[in-house]
């Protein structure tokens, strides 16, 4: 377990900037999610931390000591890949023992540790199976066991559940979180799935086009995205262009307080579930244009009388063509100034 510090880490391939001067602190024993769309440089960053690649600039530190040039072999940062990457010619036991053997631990110690970790991942009795005889979830758990048995300084998970079916994915999330807590591992989870990041991580780092846009708790990230890019990426957001003057932002949805006293162009953001639809009261009038039932919520597309459209999700039931009042609380409106 270690505290991981990235200082100005950058990576370029053939003049193409993949990662742009990242600064990031991952606390000892923390589970941090690295969230971003595919191609944002998440896996590249993971490889840099594991030492499979070297950064073009910047430093990587484990517990304050510089490991930028320490070889993969001696770095004790282990990636668990999406396709688990078990050695197909070795049994479960041999796979898990691989790293212990590399450290020349005595046979008795290896046997004991393999037994213990198999208990932890709830797969005792599978010692002598070959990987191809295991199910997808079992393979993933063995891959986790193989990494965890070494007590790595940081465990790096590269979209580890995206090959699993939905139910299995949910139980694996819980499993990994409890494993991480029991073993007190520093852990970085790479994912493109917001829900996965929110459910599992203590903090989420949003990586867009090679830049860390925001590193925050899931709650803050969801309620207060730092800029429009992050809000757009996290989805389920309505944007309203408007103007700020004298501390008030005015847009199609009404007027909202802002801390800015000057006059400027701005854009406001409201999440679907922060839009209130009412039959009798509200800021502005609209009409239900479309409706999609999604279980917990129903999504409504509302055409505003003043022009424009917005999306709302709520539990109340409206029918197409209903006239509704639309409103939104002051704190639910995030305002970003437009450049």
């Amino acid at each position: 377990m270690a505290r991981i510090t990235l200082v100005g880490v950058a990576k370029a391939f053939n003049d193409k900037q993949i990662l742009d001067r990242l600064d990031l602190d991952i606390e000892n024993g923390e589970l941090l999610a690295l969230l971003g769309p595919s191609g944002s440089g998440k896996t590249t960053l993971l490889k840099l931390i594991a030492g499979l690649d070297t950064p073009s600039a910047g430093r990587i530190k484990f517990d304050g000591s510089d490991v930028t040039l320490v070889s993969t072999r001696h770095r004790q940062a282990i990636i668990v890949f999406q396709d688990h990457c078990l050695f197909p010619h070795l049994t479960v036991k041999e796979n898990i023992a691989f790293g212990l053997r590399a450290r020349n631990e005595p046979r008795a110690t290896i046997d004991r540790k393999v037994g213990e970790i198999l208990e932890v991942v709830q797969l005792p009795g599978r010692q002598n199976s070959l990987p191809h005889a295991l199910s997808g979830g079992e393979k993933q758990r063995i891959a986790l066991a193989r990494a965890c048995v070494l007590k790595p300084r940081v465990l790096l998970l590269d979209e580890p559940f995206s090959n699993l079916d939905v139910n299995l994915r949910l139980s694996m999330r819980e499993f990994v979180v409890s494993l991480q807590r029991v073993l007190k591992l520093t852990c970085v989870l790479v994912t493109h799935d917001k829900e996965e990041a929110f459910v599992m991580a203590e903090r989420v780092a949003v990586l867009l086009d090679g830049r860390l846009e925001q590193v925050d708790t899931p709650e803050n990230l969801y309620d207060r995205p730092k800029n429009k890019k992050v809000a757009e990426f996290l989805g389920e957001a309505n944007f309203f262009p408007g103007v700020v003057a004298d501390g008030v932002f005015t847009c199609a949805l009404g007027s909202f307080a802002t801390p800015w006293q000057d006059t400027r162009q701005a854009v406001g953001m409201v999440r679907y579930d922060n839009v209130q639809l009412g039959r009798h009261t509200g800021n502005t009038l609209g009409k239900i244009k479309d409706k999609v039932f999604a279980g917990r919520y129903t999504f409504y597309k509302v055409a505003l009388a003043a022009g424009g459209e917005l999306m709302a999700s709520c539990k109340e039931s409206f029918t197409l063509g209903d006239a509704v009042y639309v409103s939104c609380a002051d704190h639910a409106m995030q305002v970003y100034s437009t450049p």
């Binding site: 282990i78 890949f81 990457c85 050695f87 010619h89 691989f98 590399a102």
Partner: protein, 267 residues
């Protein structure tokens, strides 16, 4: 559906007959004493040809030399090809495409041309007429095939398993012996088989570079074919086929013994 199956069966059986019938006619020829023109099968069978050849000291010498050459060629080819195929299959670097093309050159140019050029060179360095010289020229012709096979195997394998092993703390030696080698073993077996058979069936190269000092089975066989002694040639051919087959079966057995179970051979 029925018609498709019928056609499939027809193609399969035709192919099977096409593969086996030359071998059958070889066996029949090898044991025939009299086979006058209109008869479908020989009128008299004999084991004389076989007995005569098996007793001749030249056959033993030829088989031994052929096996030695094939074995040395296989080892040399694999040693040469392994690093090159790994580089070409896994890493991107300048000149990668050129390397792929270059490795195919010996089989794109007629064998006699390559061999004549090498012969001149080998006379100068004193390798003409030696075992080493012949092994070198056989290797030149085995490399293109072995390289291709292994390169594809490395491409399929990818780097991920080696990277995983390194992250788990394995040093280069352990990565190689515990991960890389077992994973490419099916390709190694295929490449070894190919090299072995190529060396075993070389005629013109052995003839030119060996200068008649190295006697191999094809060198014994060809004059009999040209001289019209079909019975003798057939017996030699049978010896040739079964020696090669036995060697390959042995090779697979050894690999199977070292590399557990049957994952590689029957995945």
């Amino acid at each position: 559906m029925k018609w498709g199956r019928a056609v499939g069966h027809f193609v399969m059986w035709t192919a099977a007959v096409a593969c086996v019938s030359p071998l059958l006619s070889l066996i029949v020829l090898a044991f025939s004493a009299q086979w006058p023109f209109p008869h479908l099968v020989p009128s008299l069978f004999t084991a004389d040809h076989l007995a005569k050849l098996l007793l001749s000291p030249r056959l033993g010498e030829a088989v031994t030399t052929s096996l030695e050459l094939a074995l040395l060629t296989t080892v040399a080819t694999l040693l040469l090809v392994f690093p090159a195929a790994k580089a070409a299959g896994l890493y991107s670097f300048r000149g990668r495409e050129a390397l792929k093309l270059l490795a195919l050159m010996p089989v794109m140019v007629p064998a006699a041309t390559v061999t004549m050029g090498l012969h001149y060179f080998m006379i100068r360095v004193g390798l003409a007429g030696t075992m080493l010289g012949v092994v070198i020229v056989h290797t030149v012709f085995a490399v293109p095939y072995a390289f291709r096979i292994l390169m594809y195997v490395f491409e399929i394998m990818g780097e991920q398993h080696e990277e995983q092993a390194a992250m788990l703390g394995a040093g280069p030696l352990m990565v190689f012996s515990a991960v890389t080698l077992p994973l490419v073993m099916p390709g190694m077996v295929a490449a070894a088989t190919m090299s072995f058979v190529i060396s075993f069936s070389q005629y013109i190269t052995t003839f030119i570079i060996g200068g008649g000092r190295l006697l191999t089975v094809p060198l014994l066989l060809v004059p009999h074919v040209q001289g019209g002694e079909l019975h003798v040639a057939s017996v030699y051919s049978l010896v040739f086929i079964f020696t090669a087959l036995a060697a390959l079966v042995l090779l697979r057995a050894v690999v199977r013994h070292y590399y557990r179970e049957t994952y590689f051979l029957n995945p």
